[in-house]
């Protein structure tokens, strides 16, 4: 079952920026790109646990602030030479509100 949760307004996140949503499984980073696409991925870099929400957002990628790993926001895959992946979550923007698909978050917390 899909579980869309209204988490914030689009304008609560700066363009080319991110903010986090707290969940029982740690923080999920919500990104807004220069052209107002919204993505949600795990906030924690698989390399050394850097907070991805604090990275520089360029195109539809983010660069981890600790050691410059670059992640594709849609697939969660590390780019270039680095190997790793973070979980991604579906989002949509409806009437200026950001909705996060949280069924997996709920499922993981129930387990």
């Amino acid at each position: 079952m899909r579980n869309w949760i209204d988490i914030a307004g689009l304008n609560d996140i700066p363009k080319r920026g991110a903010r986090v949503v707290k969940t029982t499984l740690g923080c999920v980073a919500i990104f807004r790109t220069d052209d107002d696409k919204v993505y949600a991925i795990d906030d924690t870099c698989p390399h050394k646990k850097g907070p991805l929400s604090e990275g520089i957002v360029h195109g539809a990628s983010v660069t981890c602030p600790l050691h410059n790993w670059v992640f594709d926001l849609e697939t969660g895959m590390a780019q270039g030479e680095d190997v790793g992946q973070v979980a991604t979550f579906d989002t949509q923007v409806l009437n200026g509100r950001i909705l996060l698909e949280a069924s997996r978050l709920a499922a993981r917390s129930a387990a």
Partner: protein, 814 residues
Amino acid sequence: MTQKLVIIGAGMASGRLLEELFELAPDAYDVTLFGAEPRGNYNRIMLSPVLAGEKCYDDIVTHDADWYREHGVTCRFGEAVDKIDRAQKLVITANGATSYDKLVIATGSASFLIPVAGNDLPGVVGFRDLDDVTAMLQAAQAPAGKAVVIGGGLLGLEAAAALNEQGMDVTVLHLMGHLMDRQLDPAAGYLLQQELQRRGIKVNCKAHTKAILGKDQVDAVLMEDGTVHGADLVVMAAGIRPEVRLANDAGLHVERGIVVDDTLLTSDPDVFAVGECVEHDRTVYGLVAPLFDMAKVLAQTLIGQPAGFVAPAVSTKLKVTGVDLFSVGDFAEGPEREEIVFRDPGRGIYKRIILRDNRIIGTVMYGDTADSSWLFAKLKSGEDISDIRDTLIFGPAFPAGAPTDPLATIAALPDDAEICGCNGICKGAIVTAIGKGATDLAALKATTKASASCGSCTGLVEQVLASTLGDTFVIPAAQPICGCTDMTHEDLRRMIKSQSLKTMPAVMQECGWKTSCGCHTCRPALNYYLLAEWPLDYADDAQSRFVNERNHANIQKDGTYSVLPRMWGGMTTPDELRAIADAADKYDVPAVKVTGGQRIDLLGVKKQDLPHMWADLNEAGMVSGHAYSKGLRTVKTCVGTDFCRFGTQDSTGLGIKLEKLLWGSWTPHKVKLAVSGCPRNCAEATCKDVGIICVDSGFEISVGGAAGMELKETEALAKVATEQEAIELTVAFIQLYREHARYLDRAYKWVAKVGLDWVKERVVEDLAERAALCERFELSQSVYRKDPWAEQATPAFQRDKWSALADLTLEAAE
């Protein structure tokens, strides 16, 4: 008996509906048409040319009285409908009731009046119908009239360009960061803004309107930042709002617009809606193409043919004479999307095609839209373009792919573009010298002095050689900043200065960036170069800064931060120490450390505690120590003459003066200073970026030291007699470094590149240059000498930045 069809609204959607209907079944209905305007249907899209004086009303009439008579339409123009009685199937006007079998609501939309005081003053108009245009033309009659257009979208810009044509002094206020933000990306928005400004239209983006001022008539617009724009006319073009009052009052299902299904049927089986007042599949439309599609579907529905409305791909074109602009589809970036970008800085052309799975899903073009219909057709057909991918951006006329010319940027520069800043050598002079036989770098240096001083323009001089000589000159490989551009740091700095590039989109366009918004390597560098060159014009972009500079604290390996308040010259007081101790207690700080820069670091602070801790420290009179920035860090001092038996000068006092002068400034890399009171050098001044050692006869200033990955001793810059001179030399040196060094080069690296003699010439020997450097530094400091903590600890920042967006753990726990 013929069924009675009543239509409310005589605009373009209902006009097209009637055409379609009479084409399919001329006698199916007895039609009555209500229109609030005292005239029939005209082409509203052409209101802009009417306003510009390029067309008149008669040219844009689509259905005249004869047409309505011919088709047996009963016209009730100038008669506003007051209400709909659905139970009795009646439409009520001031003249009485009219019955219907089927009703079509086509009330269109109205200008969205931004909710500020004064939005109802005479002189404030929308831009929806002929009456608005008449009012605007009247206002344009007055000599030297001023118009303010609120809204830099399609409609607002057409109004602005037309009013400008009519001789008005026009200012556009746009809330977002670039013009036509819904149709264009920042790069195309930049080019459009350039063009409008060239025509004399003033454009202000990120402009927040606070109020419209005036007594009996509008006379100015007040902005949130206090700016006032004089105005005899204010055009509201900040968006449109579906006109849904009648439908609402009649109890129909209305969201943003009147909700209809695929057949344009509302929640009442005998009531349809069409046009801009409609909401279909959660979308409201404001462009004409989908409205015409709706009209066709509705005509079929009305005569019982099966038909369904499907949201079409919509393309946009701005109807401003001489502006070529095109946008269609989805042009946002995204993973699994690829983009092809073509920029020709010389001709002001920008094209971007967005692909997904080798299919075009969006296009933005500016300056050359000749291929727009070809690309639009490919987008609509969804065809696989793998085979022509390499040449797609050049259009159908291009037989085989030719690579973009990396020299285009240089070739496009005018002759008076300054290439060598040290010696003031323009491109024209270099080209002339090349013509006279100076065909390599050494010869050019010898004959023109271009790149003969600091050498940072070498890359550009070589490119001028290459673009002038063609294949006979091979440019030695230079390291570009990153994959987004072919330019080196030095090239970029020169372009920003000589071409007066003051925004990131401007730089990316004029310097031929290959990506739409850069990357984590070029953006911080660009942000620094822009703010260093244009302190008053350029607004610092937090999103292009590394986390530490964005959050004004040092991120630690576990995602916590360190907080380090400034201690001027390493001096502190019991009160400050108490405040630091209190903060450490209150926020459970796990570690407190004395740093090498003579101050105290609080380590392991949680992000959400930062603004509160800063507010507490601010309260005690302390400000950010900028321990995180590419900027001034510390000025380390010894106690000097006040206490030390060897001290020769007031080294502590000088250190504090320097720190108070320099703090808050951004530099290419970190800057550390030290002032020692005697040659014993207790402040370790000889491994700093600038070190001052006091002696009996004055001050010895040395520069370019470091004690990091590389250990470097400073080199003597000069010895001066007075404290004032020592301060001026220090400031001038730092400003020269700010203006010339490559981003992330420490001062010693930069000095090694340009040579200490070159630095001395400017900072020590040329007194006029020294004064000018100090003046430019002070100008920049008028913006940046402030405490970022105080700003970031304000309630607005606390709400918008430091806390989580939402907390889903609470919900899960329930």
